[in-house]
Each structure stands twice: as C-alpha cells, then as structure tokens.
C-alpha cells in the first residue's frame, strides 16, 4: 500500500504557494505543525483502518497455502488444498449453479434496468418519474432478510419447486437497482448534442439509439452488468433461505463448510471466490471512472 508517501508531499499539494526556495525541510515541518488543516493522529487511524480492513482477508489467503491440516499452525507452503478444492464435486456443482444464475439474472436485470433508465432520462413527458425511480430501486430500501422471507413464501404458495428458477427470479429482482444506477449515472452525465444531431439529420429513433446512444452508454451498461453479476454471485441471505430443489450456490455451499469448522481447503475455496470477485471488480472500477 502506498500510504507511506511522506506528509511533506501532501502538504505541498494542498498549499502550492509554499514552494519557494527558502523552504528547507526543517522549515516545512515547522509549517506542518501550524497547518490548521492537519489533524495529528488522523494518518495513524487511517493506517490502522486499512490494516483492519485487509488483514483478515490476507490471513485467509495466507493460510490457504498452509500445508498443515490444523489450520492455525503454519507448517510450510503448499498448493495441495487448491488441487483438492478443484477436485471437489460439491464445489464444482455449486460454482456451476452460481455462474448460471448470475449470468441469466444479470442478462434480465441489465435489460430491464436499461429500458427503465432510457425512459427515465430520455423519455418525453414521463409521468411520475420520481415514483418510477423509487420503484426500480425498491430492493435497496428493504433489509434483504425481509425480501428473502417474502419470496420464500411466494414460491411456496405458487408451488415453484425448481431451485434454479427460484434463484434466477429472486436474483433478477434484487440485481435490477445495481444494474440501473451506473446506467442512469452515465445517461445523466452525458451530453445530448450527438443524439440531437442524429435526429436533426432525420435518423429514426431506433437508429439514433443503436448508432449513437448505445455505444456512448456502453461503459455504463457494462459497469451495471458487472455489478449485478458480482452481487448475484456473492449473495448469501436470499439464496440460503430459498435454496433446495437441487440448486446450491457457492456462498451457500461455503456456509455449509463453515458450519463444519475451519479447514485449509475452505481457505483455498474462499481465496478462489475472492479472486473471481476481484477479477470482475477491477475492470468495473476503470469503466465507471472513465469520462
């Protein structure tokens, strides 16, 4: 982590007029003490905070390479838990279920969110737009356990027994706002000049959408799709309550392992799922920060 760049650098950035030749290091440190915007101890808290945030994750990753079967006693480096994890049938079928559900739910959620976002930011004379926006974001307002219980009762009343179908329906619903928000942000921040130019040149609405709007909002659509994919992949509460019917997702499978106690193979599995999530997260960050 690059937290160790010295304070003098940041001091200079916030006070550009403070760069005259007489600024010896000694003087600078005197100045820092007088800088009212500098609060002593804040940097230490920040360092502690990042340690708190990352140490537990690093512990899981580190101990996944521990050769010893007793998790907490270090015995030597080994890949063996990864190879035993990859030969684990339960894990592989959970992985397959999770990826299928996430892919299908992401497709539906992103399509639904894209349609709604286009109407809400480009439609003319949209009635009750704030209400519609609230409806699209409804899953964000409820605690997830409430949603999970609600769909559990719904599925049992409708006698839907297919585990895969239940998961896809529920995941599509709670992924919609996560797909919606990046697309909506992209549309809001976008200049409408090009779309207007296309319309002035008599492009029909569909052509304008296909050739101008869609390519321009694509980073937003991709960001929304990635976000909803990861949200679906990582979901535990809803998947756990409605699981059954022959479909166990990865987090539910991991939970069943945690209940049996900590094991080095569990550390390896956790590291694998973290790697998958982070592989998807990093491009998301660049996509959503691109102007």
């Amino acid at each position: 982590m690059s937290l160790s760049i010295n304070d003098a650098v940041s001091d200079n950035i916030s006070e550009p007029m403070n760069t005259t030749a007489e600024n010896t290091p000694k003087r600078r440190s005197v100045r820092k003490n007088h800088d009212a915007k500098h609060f002593p101890g804040f940097k230490a808290v920040t360092v502690l905070f990042f340690a708190f945030l990352y140490l537990p994750i690093l512990v899981v990753i580190g101990y996944s390479f521990n050769e010893n079967k007793i998790v907490s006693v270090w015995h030597g480096f080994s890949w063996k838990w990864y190879s035993s994890a990859l030969q684990n049938d339960g894990l592989m079928s959970a992985l397959q279920v999770s990826f299928t559900v996430a892919a299908v739910a992401t497709f539906f959620a992103t399509s639904i969110a894209l349609a709604a976002a286009l109407v809400l930011s480009r439609g003319k004379n949209v009635k009750h737009a704030p209400v519609s926006e609230a409806v699209v974001n409804l899953p964000l307002m409820l605690p997830e356990i409430v949603f999970a219980v609600a769909v559990l009762i719904l599925f049992s009343q409708l006698e839907i027994r297919n585990g895969m179908l239940k998961l896809i329906l529920a995941h599509t619903c709670f992924c919609i706002p996560f797909a919606f928000l990046p697309i909506r942000a992209r549309l809001k921040g976008m200049n409408t000049n090009l779309e207007q130019a296309a319309q002035d040149l008599y492009a029909p609405p569909w052509t304008t959408f296909k050739l101008i709007t869609l390519p321009l909002i694509m980073p937003g659509v991709l960001a929304g799709a990635m976000l909803s994919f990861v949200i679906s992949l990582d979901d535990f509460i809803t998947s756990n309550i409605i699981s059954g019917g022959g479909a166990t997702t990865l987090p539910v499978y991991i939970y069943s392992l945690v209940k049996q106690g900590v094991s080095p193979e569990l550390n390896a599995i956790s590291t694998l799922i973290m790697a998958i999530s982070l592989l998807i997260a990093t491009p998301f960050w660049f996509l959503s920060n691109r102007k």
Binding site: I5, S10, I13, A36, K37, F42, V45, T46, F49, F50, F52, L53, Y54, P56, V59, Y63, I70, V71, S72, I112, A116, V119, G123, N125, V126, K127, V135, V136, L138, L142, P143, I145, V146, V149, A150, L152, I153, L154, S156, Q157, T172, C173, I176, V230, L233, D234, F236, N240, P251, I254, V258, V262, N267, S270, I273, M274, S277, L278, I280, A281
Partner: protein
C-alpha cells in the same frame, strides 16, 4: 408535435418501464402483502401455515401462554430486539469514530491517491460477505489465528474462545459495514471549504475547537447519511449473528431466519419480519423528514 406521435411516445415510455414494474409488483409488493397475510394466520407445525385467522403470532413476540392459558410477559424476544437495536447503534458509533479521520485524511490527498484509497476502501465490498465473515471465524475461533499468534508471543497460555458473543458480532458488523460510513463523510468533507478551518485557526481556535465547532457541524449531513447507511442494514444483518454470535446472542436477522428454517413457525417469522420492517421504516422516515426540513430551511 402531432397527437399520434405523442401517443407513440407515451406507449414507448410505458413499454420501457413496464418490465421493471412487473418484476417489482410480483417479487416485492405482492410477496410483502403475503407476509402480512401469513402473519395473521395460524402456523402449521409441519412447515407453512394454515388459513385460520389468529393474531397469536404477534402476541408471541411479547407474551407466553402458561399451563392455565394465562398470558405472561415474556422478555426473550424483546431482549433480542433490544440487543439488535443496541448493537446496531454501537456499530454505527464505532464506524463513525473510525471513518471520520480516515475520510478526512483521504480527502486531503492528491487526486490520484484519493482515487486509489477510495478504491481500496470499496474493494472488500466486492468480496462475498460469507468469506469476509468467515475470515473472522478463522481469526477468533478456538485455537484460531489470533490465539496462536498471541501464544507464540507468549502473551497468553490458554484462552477462552473469542467467538459466540456480542463482541465478536460487533467486530464482524463494524468490519462489514464501515465502508458505507466512509463514502458519505468523504463526500461532505470534499465539499467543505477548508478556508473556514484556516479562519478558525487565525482566530486562535485550537485544533480541538476547530474540529468540533467548525468541521464536524459542517459535515453533519454526511455523518447523518453514514449513520443511517450503517445502522439500517445492521438491523437486518444475518451472517454475523449466525457465524460469530452464539445461540444465546441472537439478533433479529437470524431469529427470523430460524423461524423459516429449524423452528418451522412461519406465522411468527412473518410477524417478526413485519416488526423489523416497521423499525427500519421508522428510521428511514425520520431521516426523510429531517432531509425535507433541511431543504425548507435552505429555501
């Protein structure tokens, strides 16, 4: 615009929003209605419920029926609700104390370091909740990582398990939700005019006074938003009490989960869900009222 064109546009608007409305209606609104219905029915001991009107499930939150069919006050569920509120509040306060200095420090960095540090704050959010909570099981469990490190250093000999108590849940909850506190506070510090801080110091305010009388009041909107963002999800949290809390230290989230799992008492589970929903709604409404009052003051 011709009226035909206008009509076509209206259809397009409806067509675009219809799928979202349909999903939300069938997956959120109707199911919530069913929860209300189930909470007023009789529970079926074999799972599910029987369509027989009864308000026993609400009564069960507060009272227990003894052998003579008399109602007696029963505090066990009230205790769980109280513990949920208290732990969520303590979590929000700890998150605030930690997050404020971090947000302030990040806001004072150069643009590229700001982006990097914010990315690092958000990164754990992409990691599955179950893995993040499991990490604490690994650290705190009997013969776990913390114990072996401490005994290696010779600090402890044999220590009681650190898991399955309120403290372990608290650590897990702070760990899970603290990024939600940093982001809104960071946003409000970004908007803060730092010349005010300089002015305060020019007028001989010390750092303590500057912080508590200038910076904190000006960041109040971000702080309130952060507290709501941490406190409300904590109320319904499930994984931390399931894995880090024991059977004696339940929270509302896993109490509800149990009613639909091992306890097989759907009606009681539904009424507890409504209680949780009511508590969440009260806090969200208070926040909305506050926000609209602030808006009026500005105008």
């Amino acid at each position: 615009m011709s009226s035909v064109h206008k009509m076509k546009e209206g259809y397009l608007n409806i067509l675009g929003l219809a799928p979202a409305y349909v999903v939300m209606l069938f997956m959120m609104v109707i199911p919530l209605g069913i929860i209300v219905y189930v909470s007023m029915m009789t529970s079926d001991p074999y799972g599910g419920f029987i369509s027989e009107f009864s308000l026993d499930s609400f009564q069960q939150i507060l009272f227990v029926t003894d052998w003579d069919d008399n109602l007696q006050l029963d505090l066990q569920y009230l205790n769980i609700i109280g513990r949920t509120l208290l732990l969520s509040l303590i979590t929000a306060i700890i998150c605030l104390c930690l997050a404020f200095p971090v947000a302030f420090y990040i806001a004072r960095q150069s643009a590229s370091r700001k982006a990097l540090l914010l990315f690092l704050v958000m990164l754990p959010f992409w990691i599955s909740m179950i893995v993040r909570v499991y990490a604490w099981v690994l650290i705190l469990s009997d013969n776990g990582v913390l114990e072996s490190v401490l005994s290696f250093l010779g600090l402890v000999d044999d220590m009681d398990s650190l898991l399955y108590n309120n403290g372990a849940m608290l650590v897990g909850m702070v760990y899970s939700y603290i990024p939600l506190m940093i982001l809104p506070i960071y946003a409000s510090i970004e908007k803060l005019d730092l010349r005010l801080v300089e002015a305060a110091s020019d007028l001989y305010a010390n750092r303590f006074n500057t912080l508590f009388r200038i910076v904190l009041p000006l960041c109040k909107p971000g702080i309130v938003a952060g507290i709501i963002l941490v406190f409300v999800p904590c109320l319904g949290t499930v994984l931390e009490p399931m894995l880090l809390g024991g059977g004696k230290t339940m929270l509302m989230g896993n109490l509800i989960q149990n009613q639909f799992g091992v306890a097989r008492n759907w009606s009681f589970g539904a009424s507890l869900t409504l209680a949780l929903l009511a508590i969440v709604m009260i806090f969200l409404m208070l926040q909305a009222l506050r926000a609209s009052r602030l808006k009026q003051q500005e105008q």
